[in-house]
Symmetry: C2
Subunit: 391 residues, 2 copies
């Protein structure tokens, strides 16, 4: 029921096209997966997501376990039926969220004890319990429970988290029984290339149907991010899909594709949209800027999104200035469509053997300014780590 095959390979880079087959449909790769943490891509209804060209959506096991509860979702027919998104889905295990959002009480080899960020209630998650949760949710792809290394962290701390991640991956694999769900492993190893290779090699030997690269884009310099991706990809089996977690700005997507990544997720395009930051070919613009007050044309000329087809930039500006709820929907639609179109262009450039040229042209014209994503995540990490008594 689950499969992956890679097709065209870029002659100049590690980029490739591929096709992911899941119980809920096929997904062309490279693909960007919008984040629907709590069972909804914030501010956008599933029918608009389909129109926009979304193919596979994320949910988060940590969040959905806490609220409304995985057993409830299972009783209501599973995550797809619950959320009205009938296509392919992937659930993150919540490893990252437990270690960044929750108040950790203790972590040992057995599992992690934490207090909910919602109501302070105490919970205990083990690899086996997380498999129970993700199997109840029933997405097409589930992720193992992992322990990302903190940033910064010492080589010993990183190694300890990475090896625990491997032991937990093996336990996840052993307890995962759902035949209509693929379980992906997560490569860790902090910012240490050797540890990344070690992690990828170790997990590759366990023969998962797919591999993610986790614990990156949390505040480290980009050169380090890509060094870690390169180290992991080199040691992962080429016939399996590769998924880079938490990365999704336009330039990062192109850089990730060039390094052989097939799948991406990130809250970046949807989150910045709700702050009025809209993606254009040249980079992001803030729609609340006074220069948009009288712009009769759309946010970006030629954009084929529902928002640009119907509304002037002046109207979107007005919605943001007036604190109107519709602003969130229309801005999110624009940013998601921008990213989906970018990935469509990437796939078509790959098939035509001109990916490298496409990437260079796009990157030359596109400026990424705001390091807000990384700064935010860094702050979250620091706060979470400060609260942790034992790691």
């Amino acid at each position: 029921m689950f499969g992956f095959r890679s097709d065209t390979h870029c002659p100049d880079t590690l980029a490739r096209t591929g096709l992911l087959t899941t119980p809920h449909g096929e997904v062309e790769t490279p693909v960007f997966m919008p984040v629907g943490t709590q069972g909804t891509v914030k501010a956008v209804a599933p029918w608009d997501l389909r129109t926009l060209g979304a193919k596979i959506i994320l949910g988060n096991a940590y969040h959905l376990y806490l609220r409304p509860g995985h057993e409830r979702i299972a009783e209501l027919g599973g995550l797809q039926r619950f959320t009205g998104w009938h296509g392919p889905m992937l659930t993150d295990s919540g490893g990252f969220q437990v270690f960044s959002l929750a108040h950790i009480r203790s972590v040992d080899d057995d599992g992690v004890r934490f207090r909910s960020h919602i109501d302070g209630s105490e919970h205990y998650l083990t690899p086996e319990r997380v498999m129970e949760i993700e199997q109840a949710l029933g997405a097409d792809v589930a992720m193992v429970l992992d322990e990302p290394a903190g940033f910064p962290s010492s080589p010993e701390e990183t190694l300890s988290a990475t090896e625990r991640t491997h032991r937990w991956a093996a336990r996840c694999l052993a307890s995962h029984t759902r035949r209509d769900q693929a379980l992906f492993a997560i490569v860790q190893g902090g910012l240490d290339g050797d540890q990344r290779r070690y992690s990828a090699t170790t997990l590759a030997a366990m023969d998962f149907p797919g591999y993610a690269i986790g614990g990156l884009s949390i505040g480290e310099p980009k050169t380090e991010t890509w060094g870690m991706v390169e180290a992991a990809v080199a040691a992962l089996p080429p016939e399996k899909p590769r998924y880079l977690m938490g990365v999704g700005s336009p330039l990062d997507l192109l850089d990730g594709v060039a390094r052989g990544v097939d799948m991406f997720d990130c809250s970046f395009p949807t989150r910045i949209a709700r702050n009025g930051a809209l993606l254009t070919a040249e980079g992001r613009v803030n729609i609340t800027n006074a220069r948009f007050r009288d712009q009769a044309g759309p946010i970006q000329a030629g954009c084929d999104c529902l928002t640009c087809a119907e509304f002037s930039a002046a109207y979107i500006h007005h919605l943001f200035m007036s604190n109107e709820l519709l602003s969130f929907q229309l801005a999110t639609i624009h940013n998601l469509r921008f990213i989906f179109r970018l990935m469509e262009d990437v796939r078509s450039a790959l098939r035509d053997g001109r990916f490298d040229a496409f990437r260079r042209t796009f990157s030359a014209g596109h400026i990424e300014t705001d390091p807000e994503v990384r700064t935010l995540q860094k702050a979250k990490w620091k706060a979470a780590r400060a609260k942790t008594p034992a790691l």
Copy 2:
């Protein structure tokens, strides 16, 4: 370009069906018009409004004059093009908003001086200026600037506001020149039946293409509301459309239709939706109630709205509990569709000669509990009046 003809008349009540012809399309009456104060029906995109069955949408001249400015909207192609709602529209003059939201500095026969509720800036509106604003906005129907009587107010205060409303109506009519826009008068007269009749008769003599009944549903008992509507309707020309402003709960709609009202607007269904109050045949339910946590069926069995077609009540409950933005969109869609369907049923019952039976059956099964709308408006009035130095 503008016309109205009434068709079927109910044998038992004053209810009637009709057809409003406007430059942007035809509207079957009785009709409910969703409120899009700032140029958007809160939380719902125009494409979803069309799917739901919305036929004519309101904008508010006071709000749009303050932000983004009527001249800007005119330069951007007018209200329809600006908002992406290409069907018929109506703009309220903002008389009610000036007297309830703004900080009034002075009112005399010439006009009203007030401070903006947004930024405290001082503005001066006269009947002529309001016509300029509404003609720039370019809706199919514009409303005259009126002065609603406060509640409570003495007979002398009421008469003074009512007579000023008449003088202002005449000045609006004299300065209104746009041929593709119909100007409706507004009957005032407080809670005094004689003054209501006097107001309706006076305005009827000026031969407006349509008549609204204003200044009601602001805290008075319902029997008084309907007494005033009856007094006004009896004195208004039967060949012109009648529009009851600010009334829109299910039972009020039926009671208004029975008294000969053709058009209604109210923020009620959209506003309560954002608080999680959802309309059902039996009355409204609060979706945040724990009893919906596990409800696999829709909010209302058999409801044909986009929300009920796709989602369980449990999912809507989850969205509200999780403070997800999608909650506002899905709840608003449900409530608006409920009201549109009710009006479709009303028109079809009228055409089949069974309106009175339909009304009785619906009303017997439907409980309206929460007087929140009236209470809120009453509080606003009191606050606004308290700030007013001279009226």
